[in-house]
Amino acid sequence: LITRFRTRAFLICFIPFALLLASSFWMIQRFVQSTVRDGLHTSLRESQVAIASIHSKGDLQNSRFLRVAGENSALKAGMQLLLANPGNETARRTVEDQLRELGEHMGFDFMLVSAPDGSPVAGVVRHAAAQTEKHGQLIPLDLSLVDRNRAGFLLLGGRTFQVASVPVDENDENIGLLSVGEYFDFSDLTTHVALVRNGRVIDSNIPDVPFNELERELDSCNGPSECDLLLKGTRWISLPMEHYGGGFVLLSFENVDEATAPTQSKLHKLFLALSFVCVLVAFVCSVGSSGSIVKPIAAVVSHLRNAVRTGKLSELEVQHSSILEIQELAEIYNCAAVSVRAAGENLEAAYLEFVGSLANALDARDRYTAGHSSRVSQLSCATASAMGLGLEEVERIRIGALLHDIGKIGIADNVLQKSGRLTDQEFAIVKQHPVIGRRILEAVQGFAPFLSAVELHHENWDGTGYPRGQVGEETPIDARIIHVSDAYDAMTTDRSYRRGMTHEKAISILTENAGTQFDPRIVHAFVALPIEILTKQSQTPSTRDEVEQPAVTVAI
């Protein structure tokens, strides 16, 4: 996977930052949540203890009430009457009437008298329609509804009564059992509770939660300690508050989500804002730091890119970077650049030496043309510069001009060093030297730019030249310039068979042949060259008296 260094630096900065922030916020939130939960548990437990103590007080009071009720002589008389007349309607009614009166006085919602064998014989219950009213009427109870094994609670037609019983004795003989009950009502409870019997929910005041769902959730927690439930997507804590007889348990419930909601939402907002700010800061920091990390490298990269484009290994400005590694890199690069440049210069020097040695080799073969190559080279350079050509081209022309007659190496000495006129056959051999030169240089890769100069420096403007007979600008400018310089130097140089012409004569011949033999534009530039350059070139040559064929002849 290839990424930009900047992206990488950003990710390396930002991701740990963000992860650290997220995890720390998450942990803080968890901590706060657990704190809130603990608080809730504590409050639940406290309320449980409080309710239990109130309840035990109530139990005591109830038991006193009950003892008084059990010692009621009228009721005893009624119960004895009922025992003496089993199944007697009026007797039952009499006791019911007594129970009603007793119940109204003592505020019970349910009263029942049972025979010593436990079978219910008479009872009253508060009128169902009036159960919520304080002064509802007690009415006779349908005894068939009464569960014989009542303990703690009694379920009557969908209503729940909390029941307590006291035996009624007369003269140390048990004459029955008096049970009193109060309607078990959650409506005045502020907390959520549920009455459960052996895992079955009998009543609850938790809104919108069906009993079977509650039972299913309660299934998983049958311990004496608190238990976590999930009801309708909200979390609750349940705690057994009171164990009654007969498997009845009163569970209290507390909505955790509701209790923690205000704190939670506050925390959420706080955390959200904080985390947003932090992430933003982290982002900005990451962007900034990644930028500042990358910036020196980017500077190096852009410098290198520039170096690639220009082909020049210029040195980096080390003092601009404040980063040690970048400085080191720059220093190493600079060293490398210096050594590469040195190597390049060495190579070039070696190459030039090689060129020079080739030229020298040629000069060694033909004493008459000694210095010819270097003079042509200088003239060509001057002409090219005067024509406004680029440095590279000028350099190319310079070397090309140095090498232009290299092909003469391949010409037999008797032809090349012949003093006197050449025969047509010999001349044809001489005319092969551009092609031979090309063939020699072709083998060396570095000489490729100069091949055209070597091969084509005898092509004429009008197409009468050799070896190809190219016309006008078909011939590269290197060859055309060298052609003019070569002709001038040949004309002004003394040869074994003639003296060199004067500068003026040579110029006039060049001018005459401009447009036919030579490119007129180059001739124009050539003749406009400062006289010092031309004459210096022409005077420098040795005073050898060998005279080569005139330029015109050479041109042919």
Binding site: S73, A74, A77, G78, L81, T90, A91, R93, T94, D97, Q98, R100, H127, H135, Q137, L138, I139, P140
Partner: protein, 247 residues
């Protein structure tokens, strides 16, 4: 008004002269109420379940109610019930109350107790002149008690502790109860000196010696002082008056 009273006095005087006996007359004056009459709802009402408010019977004048709880009689021997046409009184048990709650009968009378309620009632007494327990019985049934000794008999129901009534058994047939205005008249008392007793259900006994002369009605007014705490329990046991006075 004066004229009418005079006329009444004259007429009674004439009647007394004719029969050879005179009346004892007077006024019972009570200025403060001493007890609350209680009202109970019908038993049958509860079997269905409508709401019944219990409270005082506000229509009754409280002082007239107090006066209705007074009995006047003469101590000492005299014509008893069986010597005349023996009158039979009735005390009903209705709506968890004895009705009436005060009955006066001469000694030797029989009182019947019919149960009018659809529930059992029981009648018993622990009073000295006559202690009895009729047991519990159903609606429509009537049980009877004869009172051979004079005295004050309080009767109760085992099943309903709030039920109570008083039967005053007088030693002779010279007894009366004041009317609503407090006027009373004991008719045809032969001349002589007597102890006239006024008994109030809460306040107890008030005695006066009275002399009855032939041809003249005697007048005895009673001012029954109010006691803040009625001696309800004391009455049953503290009853030396008529019994001892009889012998």
């Amino acid at each position: 008004m004066r004229f009418r009273e005079l006329l009444v006095v004259c007429v009674t005087a004439v009647l007394a002269v004719c029969s050879g006996a005179q009346d004892i007359t007077g006024t019972i004056v009570i200025k403060k109420k001493m007890s609350k009459p209680s009202v109970t709802a019908a038993v049958s009402v509860y079997q269905r379940g409508p709401v019944v408010k219990l409270g005082k019977d506000s229509e009754e004048d409280p002082l007239a109610y107090e006066r209705s709880r007074v009995v006047l009689y003469i101590e000492g021997p005299g014509p008893a019930a069986n010597e005349i046409a023996s009158p039979t009184a009735e005390v009903q048990q209705i709506d968890r109350r004895f009705m009436p709650q005060l009955v006066v009968v001469p000694v030797g009378s029989t009182v019947s107790f019919p149960n009018m309620d659809p529930i059992f009632h029981n009648i018993y007494s622990l009073s000295k002149p006559k202690s009895f327990d009729l047991g519990s019985y159903d609606k429509g049934e009537t049980r009877r008690v004869t009172f051979p000794k004079p005295g004050i008999v309080n009767i109760y129901c085992h099943l309903h502790p709030n039920m109570s009534a008083t039967i005053v058994v007088t030693p002779n047939r010279w007894y009366a109860r004041p009317d609503r205005s407090g006027q009373y008249r004991i008719q045809n008392v032969p001349p002589g000196q007597y102890t006239l007793v006024a008994w109030h259900q809460s306040a107890g006994f008030f005695r006066k010696t009275i002399r009855v002369e032939a041809g003249n009605d005697s007048v005895a007014d009673f001012f029954i002082p109010l006691e803040l705490e009625p001696k309800q329990e004391a009455q049953a046991t503290q009853f030396p008056g008529p019994a001892s006075g009889l012998r």
